[in-house]
Symmetry: C2
């Protein structure tokens, strides 16, 4: 009987899930719609049914030992999803309890960046690290911080909000209602805003002048940078400078062994890794210089988020 866990990645549009063993082998995986369900109970019924089906289809005999969930705005301590702006279910949803009434195994939930950190720690490139940080550069900027081998949840379960450190007083408007948060500059959305600012300020030709704001993506900008587009290259330099300076501050507080950059903007590779590293080193307190690695994820498969969620519950069980 092979011992396995289920990892569930709750996204705004789709929910992906898989059956995973402790070595990170994925036995079976599938997905269902998230946003087609207005009612959480109906959603969980479908999810539970699909997971049971995967367990039956897993080929060899498997024994489910726990379920890990990565979901936006979720609180590790309470097991709830709280006021998630991008999900249909409003208010406080006791997700772990509701799912727990459908399975008699331990269930843990955390946000996607913390799940990503646990995925790196259990299955990825942070397997031998006790102090590291995972930064997800997608629509926003999320961070999962590991200290002494434990994710930092803080007193109320919401620690690790690096995206909402303020880097410019009275800066860009943020979805959180404040101004100048790091994620308004450093994220897939942030670099789009930087491109538009540069296009307004500067006069160079750029292929990005042909793309409307709503169609522009980190991928467009990266492709333009590959072709030497000066606005695109400048946008990466500006983004990398702001990120690098913030990383220098983060290193002074946490002294991590490595910082992992994940998500859409991180796919730009050297365009973002190089300036981030250079500006971090330039701004580092001297005792930390040339010590901290900036790395891509060690989980390159499409199901990295599912592995992260699986890592969360594996960590609980192993502890």
């Amino acid at each position: 009987m092979k011992k396995v866990v289920a990892g569930i990645d709750v996204g705004g549009t789709f929910t992906k899930f898989g059956i995973v063993d402790r070595e990170g082998k994925v036995y079976a995986d599938d997905s269902i719609s998230t946003d087609a369900h207005m009612d959480i109970e109906g959603y969980l019924d479908q999810l539970a049914g699909s997971i049971r089906k995967l367990l039956e289809e897993s080929g060899e005999k498997v024994e489910l030992q726990g379920i890990g969930v990565g979901a936006p705005n979720s609180n590790y301590y309470s097991g709830s999803i709280e006021y998630a702006p991008n999900l249909n279910w409003k208010g406080v949803i006791p997700f772990a309890n509701l799912l727990g009434s459908r399975f008699s195994v331990p269930i843990a939930i955390t946000n996607d960046a913390n799940a990503a950190a646990l995925g790196e720690m259990i299955y990825g490139s942070a397997r031998n690290m006790k102090n590291f940080i995972v930064i997800t550069l997608g629509t926003g900027l999320g961070s999962g911080i590991v200290v002494n081998g434990e994710v930092v949840y803080g007193h109320d379960g919401f620690a690790g909000e690096l995206g909402h450190v303020i880097v410019h007083e009275d800066g860009r408007h943020c979805g959180c209602g404040r101004k100048g948060c790091l994620e308004t500059y450093v994220s897939a959305t942030g670099i789009k805003r930087t491109v538009y600012e540069l296009l307004a300020r500067r006069t160079e030709e750029s292929e990005l002048r042909k793309i409307p704001f709503d169609k522009l993506t980190a991928k467009n900008i990266s492709k333009a940078a590959d072709r030497g587009d000066r606005i695109a290259l400048k946008a990466f330099d500006v983004t990398g400078r702001i990120l690098g300076k913030s990383l220098a501050d983060v290193v002074a507080l946490f002294s991590p062994e490595a910082i992992f950059l994940l998500g859409g903007l991180a796919k730009a590779g050297d365009h973002i890794f190089k300036p981030a590293k250079a500006y971090m080193e330039k701004n580092l307190f001297n005792v930390f210089r040339d010590k901290v690695k900036i790395l891509p994820s060690g989980l390159t498969k499409a199901n990295a988020a599912v592995l992260g969620a699986a890592g969360l519950i594996c960590k609980e069980i192993l502890d």
Copy 2:
């Protein structure tokens, strides 16, 4: 036989030490000169002799179980004091090993802010807290950060350098060789610099115009503020604003239950606590609002630093 530990606080001028039990009762204490000793071996001989004398004088029968040391620029992992600018002993001093050759008990060393955090956790106002931060506002700004009940040392032992987060690009010169570090604004020295900047910029009468820079202290400024001196009041507002904004960022990362302010500048009481709290709340990410306490130390005795060092080794032994 009462079980006790020794706590040692290595300052640039004096070294204070005491015999302490697990409840924080100080049986005996004393001090020796630090800076009169150019040679570390001679210093440690005197220190060890003085500690042995205290153990004999402790009144009842005591059994030494360990020694904790708080010292500048010290590394918890290596047990060394490394390149301390304010001590006579240059380079890397294997302090714990050298002291260990004089006593056959466990010895641990950390910097003064981490020791202060452990003192609050073992004996002070953080006794029931798992996530909190201690900030020492003296000549510089030190920080001891506790996550999940453990001090954050980070990968290399030097985590918790909040004083060297950069708050103003190209700002005030810092002793670390960079510019704009938080401690150049928020510390006993930082507020002096702010007073001088205000005296240069503004025209109000102020009793602080009579005090040369080298004689000015946080205490002078606090006394002037008590009497309604407008430059002094403004200096506290400026200092509290910069501190409060930095605390908001720190809360976003760590989600602490409380932040303790200690040291010379913290003795100004409401002059610094009130603006720090107000500006922190104003800048907080919404999920953290009205949750985080800003508190004074629960260790009000003169030997708080000795208790902190004792707390370090008590924590080791208890774990």
